[in-house]
Amino acid sequence: MSFDLSADYFQLFGLPVSFSVDTATLMQRYREIQQSVHPDRFANGSEQERRLSMQYATHINEALRVLKDPLARARYLLELKGVQWDDEQSTLSDPEFLMQQMELRESLSEVNEQTDPLDAVADILNEVNSLIGKNSQVLESLLSSQQAEDLEKAKHQVRKMQFLRKMQTEAESLEARLEDEM
């Protein structure tokens, strides 16, 4: 009789299990569910109601966060398919990709020496974002495949995505700092 917190996130929002997610539908479902579980509905309620509603709303928020973010979504999909993540031990053996990352990192560290640092960091961000876009496309086709070897490839792709995401965060905070200094 209890609300099934073990249902997968896709099921929770009545969405098909897939890497591509219809954001508009997702958001609409999210709002509908929060309408009935959010702690605001139970602010004047008993301790039990307030505790339950906080748990449910927290769960729905986490589900939304995962499904909205392509990287988290890909990781989650792979987990549903039985992949285990051992983040600390894993290394990326893709010399070409690593080289590209090193170059990006180097240009990021040299941004301040450019005549227009803001332009330079914007260029890097563009490049990172386009790499992320390409990566997402590759992930999408790998994740819709049923082949075991594609699963391995997808895992590899997710690791690359993590590198790119980190680079994106760094470039964005550098851009923010530069803008604030102006």
């Binding site: 009545g14 569910i33 929060q34 008993s46 109601e49």
Partner: protein
Amino acid sequence: MALLQISEPGKTQAPHQRQLAVGIDLGTTNSLVATVRSGLAEPLADDEGRHLLPSVVRYVHNAEPIVGQSAKDAAPRDPMNTIVSVKRLMGRGIDDIRKNEFGAYEFVANDSVVPRIHTAGGDVSAIEVSAEILRTLRKRAEKTLGDVLTGAVITVPAYFDDAQRQATKDAAKLAGLNVLRLLNEPTAAAVAYGLDKKSEGIIVIYDLGGGTFDVSILRLNRGVFEVMATAGDSALGGDDMDMAIARWFMRQAGISDDADHAQIRRLMYEARRAKEALTDAEQVMVEVQRMDGTIWQGELTRSGMNDLIDALIKKTISPCRRALRDAGISLEEVEAVVMVGGSTRVPRVREKVEAFFQQPVLVDIDPDKVVAVGAAIQADVLAGNKPGDEMLLLDVIPLSLGLETMGGLTEKLINRNTTIPVARAQEFTTYKDGQTAMSIHVVQGEREMVQDCRSLAKFSLRDIPPMVAGAARIRVTFQVDADGLLSVTAQEQTSGIQSSIQVKPSYGLEDQEIEQMLRDSMQHARDDMQSRKIREQQVEAERVIEALNAALASDGEQYLDSQEREQIDHALSELVNVNKSNDVDKIKSAIKDLEKTCAAYVERRMNSSIKDAMSGHNVEEFES
């Protein structure tokens, strides 16, 4: 125990008794209380018809503190006993205050981490000073509405950290208020604005008050107010403009930096007067008395003032940029920029904000009242006065939460602008054989080094079962509730033993201190405490009875078998009977009994309402 009010077509609802709920804007300069009456949210006035209560408390020897206008009038004469802008001191340690505040008070050394100010009426903390303001507003509301309040929504700056929020909630508790929610000020303003204008789309709330600055970006969608990002500065506001102007006076008049408290207060007053006059006038005459009694007279022009405050206004623009970035929104997507807070009356502020957002700002709502009005609307909904209402506020945590790791670095656990409520779990392990305790330091902020972030609390985990190093797995869960407040629980995973947690707040009060303050305030017997307590308990019972009756009428038959129904009816009539007595403890325990009897029913209703929300949306529907 407000059960969900689900009205089904064809079924009549039990007549509904309105809950008395208010919204309170606890401001740096002024505070306000508002409520919804006959469908209209409006601020409540005092006996003399004034809505704004100056947030000023004056302590006197052996008498009740004075709150509001008369305290404000006395401030220049009695600066050491008259506390102004106490909001700037909330949730702050003594070092923060000494570093940031101009002409502060006389602080006394004590054992608590909460600084106390020495006054003629005794040593008081910022929490107690705020409680006096809240108590005054509570009394005003109860007098106007004719009964004790069911609950209140108190607004806080969106950029308030955990310590500042907790301090505000503690103050409300001390003032005898049941806090339904701590609501972020810009979100409150958006509610008042959005419901008024029936808008959809993305709006920016630029809220510059007396001592705090917030900017929030919200998406409005059919009654859902979704905060996409918020940023700000919890120590930046109109007071800082006054300080900048006062310092200019000092330079002009040749007054040295070591001016005494009374002198600084007078300068601040003159500065504020000049600033307000320059909203309409192009120049203003100013007069400042030097320490030796001689007078300096001069003229301040609007453009002269602009030069003094431009740096401060500029400090509000980078948070705007950051909020846009965090929300993933471009300038073109912003439908409206709404100005909130008294300091947005300064023409230069409007000018600069319009230049940044590249559109005219909206100033047609009263910037002083809009936050309280929004809070009142939310209070009305939270108290259950509007069953079936679609309004829902989805807010975010303003600053990232993190943990201290090796080398004084922070590891982020929950990123800023994550929708609340939110929880994250983290596993820790022991590094020594047989280790039974460990300590965890929680910080809030964006910087890499722990020392640059705000320390929230140090937790020590105890009773970890002794094992070899690295074998214990302690799962610590950090939960941020809908008020933006953090709580922490811990469990050892392999044994399932609940580790106990001792919290040492870095700035807040410990539970015992709050209890002591509550006891002290009761001893003062400000109002007739006993009769008030009885009435409060009866109101609580009435609310429980009301909600349960409404629920049973709508779906009691559906979810309860006859035996269960009998048990509930029995517990309910017990409560109805006991509530006629004046025995607080008996009423309290009858409510507890009834709630226990209803536990299964409550859960069934809740689950079913969730299923209703999800029903009709199955996978096949989208695959076809």
